[in-house]
């Protein structure tokens, strides 16, 4: 099945995608994309969608089950609140990639901007390049894997998300600390690198997580709130 956004509107394409049978796999290709917002949002189908071109905001938002490939860059909030499935950005991703996502896998071949994985709630994210400042802010669960560097205030106010960074970390946010890389973490990380198609050595990464000091209010921490 093919669509062309030079001839059809985003509404028409999304409606056609939503109308696909929910229990059958299918392959869809969308061309003619030039920064259009809200492409392939709200999918609830086991289909493979290839988007050829640069996507605007919220591409693949709230994805469930679908595999969505973006042959280009993705705008703000790609795969935001994803529940399951896979989203693969072949270029760079703008801010708030996979914000609040509950599940599935986001792979970014290039860099991801600020707030990558903000408020993540179970999603796995693999960024082959670097991520911007405040990434994994208030991250609740899931994993953020960065093969490049991380910007300032990584993991600020982190809950239980696991952060694996290979390169330099500009600075850690409040309550985020480096943690020991144990066997179970190496296993988790290798599986994710493999799934994302990276051949980086898991042992070359460092693990960061929550010091759990801000979990309940303590007067002595007042300056950190």
């Amino acid at each position: 099945m093919e669509f062309d956004l030079k001839k059809q509107t985003v509404r028409e394409v999304n409606q056609a995608l939503h109308d696909l049978p929910k229990d059958q796999s299918a392959e869809v290709v969308v061309g003619g994309i030039s920064g259009d917002h809200n492409l392939a949002v709200g999918m609830d189908h086991p289909v493979k969608i290839t988007l050829n071109g640069h996507a605007g905001y919220y591409c693949a938002g709230m994805n469930k089950s679908a595999e969505i490939i973006i042959n280009g860059n993705a705008g703000q909030g790609v795969a935001e609140n994803m529940m399951s499935g896979k989203v693969h950005v072949k270029g760079n991703a703008s801010q708030s990639a996979a914000a609040t996502a509950h599940g599935g896998l986001l792979v970014v071949d290039g860099d991801a901007a600020a707030r990558c994985g903000i408020s993540m709630k179970g999603v796995n994210i693999v960024v082959k390049g670097s991520v911007g400042h405040m990434s994994a802010f208030m991250g609740q669960s899931g994993c953020l894997v960065v093969c490049g560097d991380a910007g300032e205030a990584l993991g600020d106010s982190l809950y239980e998300a696991h952060l694996y960074i290979k390169g330099k970390v500009a600075s850690l946010g409040a309550d985020c600390v480096e943690k020991e890389m144990r066997a179970e973490h190496l296993e988790e990380l290798s599986a994710l690198l493999k799934e994302a198609g990276c051949d980086d050595d898991p042992k070359s990464f460092k693990r960061y997580g929550s010091a759990r000091q801000l979990y309940t209010f303590k007067v002595d921490n007042a300056s950190a709130y």
């Binding site: 985003v10 509404r11 999304n14 409606q15 939503h18 917002h37 809200n38 949002v41 709200g42 609830d44 605007g56 905001y57 919220y58 938002g61 709230m62 469930k64 703000q76 909030g77 935001e80 609140n81 529940m83 801010q95 708030s96 914000a99 609040t100 509950h102 707030r115 903000i118 408020s119 709630k121 179970g122 802010f137 208030m138 609740q140 669960s141 106010s157 809950y159 239980e160 979990y215 309940t216 209010f217 007067v219 007042a222």
Partner: protein, 439 residues
């Protein structure tokens, strides 16, 4: 409370309440967190009066001549606008803050009189979807429990930018209320304080919001209305930007609006009174040619049919209630007085919703306490109360000669004092004077 004796003069600046708070702060080192809304006296609907019909206006016969109460919300873009029989809706209150029984009682009561209920921070429970015929799903900064399946089950979506009790503030659910179920719905460890962010994680500003709203419309195939809820502060500008961002309905929550857990200093010192916000919102809508096209829901301190009628006369299409609905269910009921006293409060004063010890079984996750609220009985009480609000509002509208609550207008109102006249933009009673209007 100690009685005042002659010769003992209480300071207006350092009152006993102030002294108590200084001592409490000195002892604990933490600000006071509580539920409920602003407790200080601010200009409110009590400061307005209706001008009933007389020689120059015709009244309608009570009980005989019809006075319509229905309202349609979300007519701007949604394929399926919300049709309600009465213009009083139940405001967003989360499961987590409230017990599952309380949420169910709200749904049952609302169904009986044909109005809507709203989810809250923490997501939609299957119970509330099942028991609420018309359910508005809140889309909050925390996105706790945010799920596209629930989004598609909702009858409307409410994008929450803020609350009247804490405009500019996020949420807080303290550890003691985090049971297994609440923790699981929010994807966090049990027993820790849960902070809800004050900003949305994936948009900033009205231009982004416009795209965000389109995303929600695309996901739901443009079927359901999208509301934007703001705490009342710079209401004139916020309403204009909300309309520009593509809202179907705007909810303005004034500073008296209730909360489940917020710092007292925030509740009492941020935001503007509900009455002051309505004329700002209406002016913004009128200037854009959108009054009645983008519907306006007003909340914050609505208690009686008089409040409903006055909010509507100032230009609201509907109102929403939080605290009053909880009181109708049994919150602060005298029958629990002894238990309120055991936890350092008294019936009529209880506001520690955040502690989860509510003797009436409403703002708690303790199963034993929650079982005290029978959802059917609670639903009946709420339905009764909503019927009274409607009858009272109709009584006032008929007296003003109006065959529908929506026909009430500012011209039907006067103010008791200069402050109310200036805020509501209606004349001081007995005069033609509207402060600031130059005549």
């Amino acid at each position: 409370m100690t009685m005042k004796e002659p010769g003992l003069i209480e300071s207006a600046t350092f009152s006993r309440d102030v002294i108590h708070e200084i001592q409490r702060a000195a002892e604990t080192g933490i600000y006071d967190i509580r539920g409920f809304g602003a407790k200080r006296k601010v200009p409110h609907f009590d400061d307005l009066l209706f001008l009933g019909a007389s020689m120059s206006r015709y009244p309608l016969e009570g009980y005989r001549e019809k006075c319509g109460t229905d309202v349609v919300l979300g007519t701007r873009f949604a394929k399926n606008p919300i049709k309600l029989d009465i213009p009083v809706t139940i405001a967003g209150m989360s499961f987590g803050a409230l017990s599952a029984n309380a949420k169910e009682a709200l749904g049952r009561g609302a169904n009986m009189v044909g109005t809507s209920t709203t989810t809250g921070d923490g997501g939609m429970t299957p119970e509330e979807r099942r028991t609420s015929k018309t359910l508005v799903y809140q889309y909050l900064p925390s996105r706790y429990g945010m799920n596209p399946d629930d989004l598609r089950k909702a009858d409307a979506i409410e994008m929450v930018l803020g609350q009247g009790a804490k405009p500019g503030g996020g949420g807080m659910l303290l550890g003691q209320k985090i049971t297994d179920r609440v923790a699981q719905m929010r994807n966090l460890p049990k027993g820790i304080d849960q902070r809800s962010a004050c900003r949305h994680p994936d948009w900033t500003g009205p231009d982004d919001l416009a795209i965000k709203i389109l995303e929600l419309r695309e996901i739901t195939d443009w079927k359901v209305p999208i509301y934007i809820k703001v705490g009342a502060t710079r209401t004139y500008y916020d309403v204009k930007l909300a309309v520009k961002s593509g809202a179907d309905v705007i909810v303005v929550d004034g500073m008296q609006g209730g909360t489940a857990a917020t710092q007292d200093v925030f509740i009492e010192h941020v935001g503007i009174p509900t009455m002051a916000a309505i004329p700002q919102a209406v002016r913004a809508l009128q200037e854009m040619g959108m009054h009645r096209k983008v519907q306006l829901i007003v909340s914050g301190g609505i208690r009686s049919g008089a409040d409903v009628a006055k909010a509507m006369a100032l230009g609201a299409d509907a109102v929403a209630i939080g605290t009053a609905a909880l009181v109708a269910l049994g919150c602060n009921h005298p029958k629990w007085d002894e238990e309120y006293r055991k936890i350092g409060s008294a019936s009529g004063f209880y506001d520690d919703y955040h502690e989860g010890k509510c003797p009436a079984g409403i703002s708690t996750q303790n199963e034993e306490l929650a079982a005290r609220l029978n959802p059917e009985e609670g639903g009946r009480r709420l339905a009764n109360y909503l019927r009274v609000l409607t009858l009272e509002a109709q009584t006032l509208a008929r007296a003003c000669g109006k065959s529908h609550l929506h026909n009430l207008e500012p011209e039907d109102l006067v103010a008791l004092n200069v402050e109310a006249a200036a805020m509501a933009g209606v004349p001081l009673a007995g005069t033609d004077w509207i402060p600031g209007k130059g005549y």
